[in-house]
Amino acid sequence: MSLLTLTLAQASKALHTGEISATALTTAYIKAIEELNPRLNAFITPTPELALAQAKAADARLQAGTATALTGIPIAMKDLFCTEGVRTTAASKILSPFVPPYESTVSAKLKAAGAVTLGKANLDEFAMGSSNITSAYGPVENPWKRAGSDAKLVPGGSSGGSAAAVAARLALAATGTDTGGSIRQPAAFTGISGIKPTYGRCSRYGIVAFASSLDQAGPMARTVEDNAMLLNVMAGFDEKDSTSANVAVPDFTRALTQGVAGKRIGIPKEYRLEGTNPEILALWDQGIAWLREAGADVVEISLPHTKYGLAVYYIVAPAEASSNLARYDGVRFGARVDGHDLIDMYERTRAAGFGPEVKRRIMIGTYVLSHGYYDAYYLKAQKVRALILRDFQQAFEQVDAILTPTAPSAAFGLGEKMDDPVTMYLNDVFTVPASLAGVPAMSVPAGLSSEGLPLGLQIIGKHFDEETVFAVSAAIETAAGFSALPELRAK
């Protein structure tokens, strides 16, 4: 048995019984990273020495009987979480020299639970992208291949490094962040599971901000259960984040065996977009059938403002980003390019430090907030956002959860969809509405495309009802019995 084939739940059990040691498990993953990361580029900064030291401490804890379910579990940390003493780049040149003197709340909770950090995972620059090609540290390669083709595929984004690392077995699990689909879409593209919890469920403290009203941390892992175990630790109120919610965190693993019998599942008719890949629609129908067979009551629902989701998202998110990224000015931290005066220094620093997609979004955001345009764009977008939230609230008066596809296609090739940014933005069409509404949503691998690439289904729940999301996701996972593995993987 290879240590790399264990799920998080299995590894946790084996660590607790003493069957395996954290050091051995971590060493296996470090080797896997050494072997495959040069090809996949899933990690920007691997931290093997730190990981081994943490594994050693985990072993001591396991022996002392003070271990938690995550003690000794080797994970990848999206390089958007500030980690004390470990370089944190947000995949941007502008933060290339930045070593935070503080730790994000979520990574601190995982650390405190004894999880081992293998390194900082690659992502789209400042989490802006759906393909991981905007990283200043190079794109991540999807470990999956189209049948009979060696073309490099994207892992999705922005949490592409996290997704690729988990799929290719360079990490047992990973943290991600999701602003408009950044956990769910890469999870779907790489055949793993990932959940964007309710906005406010996990603290944003210490996460490099993209769009504050949308950003939310969440786990990415090989099974729904693994995700539940991780979220148990990552979630919780934090007084350092005013938008984190002071609500109790249940044991999410208890929800996994709830089943779906008697649960009402909504199928939003507006998600049947014209021109959607028939394979995706077929998978969706398959998901509906699985849930019916498992005893769920499946009903059609309406989310009438869905069609405005992308437009609203691409106003709100860039608006907040344009402001959030103003701090990268070369004055206090990060990269600086000197100039002949302050303005010149700003211009040179930001011109050199930000990539084209980040610049594009800063400009869009600046524009929509500008005098004379604010009402037409930002204000209107906020109003429509409220309507989208109301759509979900009304739908959840009838149903317990909503089932949709995660993405409109399977993973695409590196270099495809590059001509027009809007084509790229369409990747988020199914994931963005839940982000705008702040509701929890999970992607679960449910089948393969005709080309042999993984496809995911998305389960959306009510605010702070991740338990139902986990219950429905577990039912899909069981029914789908997804066991395909990517071509590129550590063995």
Partner: protein, 484 residues
């Protein structure tokens, strides 16, 4: 009320002024971080990662700063908004770490209120308050510390400010000065801002326009960051004169931001409307709307100190002192407290006269303040007691007071040590009178032939002979009796 106007070539102009006062909130820590908000410290000593705008850092509202804003709003008799909101004001500057200032743009914590000002001629006028909102201060850039570099001190960055905006109700430099002083007096009473304009903890942006009588408002200019009452008054006059010249020479005043140069006594353009920043305000997504409970507002209200206007009215009623005197005594909390300690259980008018007269004169002369004065309220009270129980007379009291100022000795000790106790023994007084009249027989003759004024001379001579210790009433009586 005398109307303030300026005479131009084309006629008489009146001025229209509104003030935006930035008052730094007194609090232990900053508006959105736990870093110390106290003045001073080595550069960048009071800076948290939140203040420095580090990646992933988030603001958390400081409850005490909110309480201070509510107290100030209550002091301005203003509406307290139970729901308010923070917005981001975006602009780049080296001492603005986030690239935006967290402020309240659309929904301030305090709405409309009213402030009463008193002018020199005793006129009372009301100035409307438009709003008060909370916002962060920026840091400080210094360009003179290094030949090629600018240095930045972020100690101030993130400290809470209250911006108090007035209606354009002010019509003269005097009114502007009175308004600014009144706001300063109120925040000092409330303990919400130290009002120290020299240290920059209070400063004003002054909006000025001019118009002919009966006209609507004309274009205004904003004079930024004026840091004394005197400069505010001068800046208004200088700016009004400039605008009148522009209008009268056929030009048009353009809306712009200007700076006041006190050394030249003039304002000059800082940036025009075209160059004005587009601040791209939008709701701060890192903070929830600020919701406060009416019960909490009520609790803060119940614990507010007595404010100057109320205190002044009470002093007039309780101590039977003139309105003007009461105004002097309530100018600041310390003086008012000092007065009340002295006046309590004593003659309020006498206490007021002593404090506004000899006591203030002594402070001026010795360059001390109430806090550092050698004469305590208890000592001054004792002196009044000695007068009241006729241990000493008023004239001796003045001498005793001077000694108190010199070395802080209690008046009773001085009286005892120097034997200044008033003589009320009529035998001794009669004896002194007899002696004085005998020595001045020529004057007695003049008096008797009708020169009544000499009466005072005899009294004075008697008092002198008694080293001033004679009871004035008894001396008067004895002189009158012996002169027949």
């Amino acid at each position: 009320m005398a109307t303030y106007t300026l005479e131009g070539r084309t006629g008489t102009w009146e001025i229209v002024v509104g003030l935006e006062i930035h008052a730094q909130v007194i609090s232990e820590s900053k508006l959105f971080s736990g870093a110390s908000a106290t003045y001073g410290g080595a550069p960048n000593d009071h800076v948290s990662f939140v203040d420095a705008g580090f990646p992933g850092m988030l603001p958390v509202i400081n409850r005490e700063c909110v309480a201070q804003a509510v107290r100030t709003g209550l002091g301005l008799k203003a509406q307290i908004n139970l729901e308010s909101r923070f917005d981001r004001k975006n602009y780049f500057y080296a001492d603005l770490p986030n690239g935006y200032q967290i402020s309240q743009f659309q929904m301030p914590i305090v709405g409309t209120g009213i402030v009463e000002i008193e002018l020199q001629d005793g006129t009372i006028k009301h100035i409307g308050i438009t709003r008060l909102h909370l916002e962060q201060d920026a840091g400080k850039s210094m360009h003179d510390q290094h030949p090629a570099k600018s240095v930045i001190d972020l100690n101030r960055a993130g400290v809470a400010l209250m911006e108090i905006v007035s209606e354009p109700d002010i019509r003269s430099p005097e009114e502007a000065g009175a308004y600014l002083r009144k706001i300063r007096q109120i925040v000092r009473y409330l303990g919400t801002c130290d009002g120290n304009m020299e240290e920059g903890s209070m400063r004003a942006d002054v909006n000025v326009s001019v118009r002919k009588a009966g006209e609507d408002f004309r274009t205004r200019c904003e004079i930024k960051n004026v840091n004394s009452v005197r400069f505010v008054m001068h800046a208004i006059e200088a700016e009004a004169i400039r605008q009148i010249e522009v209008w009268e020479s056929g030009g048009e005043v353009v809306q712009e931001t200007r700076l006041y140069d006190p050394s030249k006594g003039e304002t000059r353009s800082m940036r025009s409307k075209e160059d004005a920043h587009d601040y791209r305000y939008f709701p701060e997504p890192d903070l929830l709307p600020l919701i406060i409970e009416q019960a909490w507002v009520d609790e803060l209200k119940s614990k507010l100190p007595e404010l100057p206007d109320e205190k002044r009215a009470r002093f007039c009623a309780q101590y039977s002192i003139p309105f003007y005197d009461a105004g002097v005594l309530v100018a600041d909390q310390t003086t008012a407290d000092f007065y009340e300690t002295v006046a309590k259980g004593r003659d309020g008018k006498l206490a007021s006269n002593w404090i506004t007269g000899d006591f203030f004169a002594a402070l001026n002369r010795t360059g001390t303040t109430i806090e550092t004065s050698p004469v305590s309220a208890a000592a001054l009270g004792q002196l009044l007691d000695l007068i009241a129980d006729k241990t000493i007379n008023g004239r001796i009291a003045k001498d005793v007071f001077e000694e108190m100022v010199d070395d802080g000795t209690m008046p009773a000790d001085i009286v005892e040590k120097k034997g200044l106790r008033q003589v009320t023994d009529t035998g001794a007084i009669d004896q002194a009178v007899t002696k004085v009249l005998a020595e001045n027989q020529d004057k007695v003759a003049e008096y008797k032939s009708g020169k009544d004024k000499l009466f005072g001379f005899f009294v004075g001579q008697v008092m002198k002979a008694m080293q001033g210790k004679g009871n004035p009433a008894l001396v008067n009586e004895a002189v009158k009796k012996q002169l027949g």
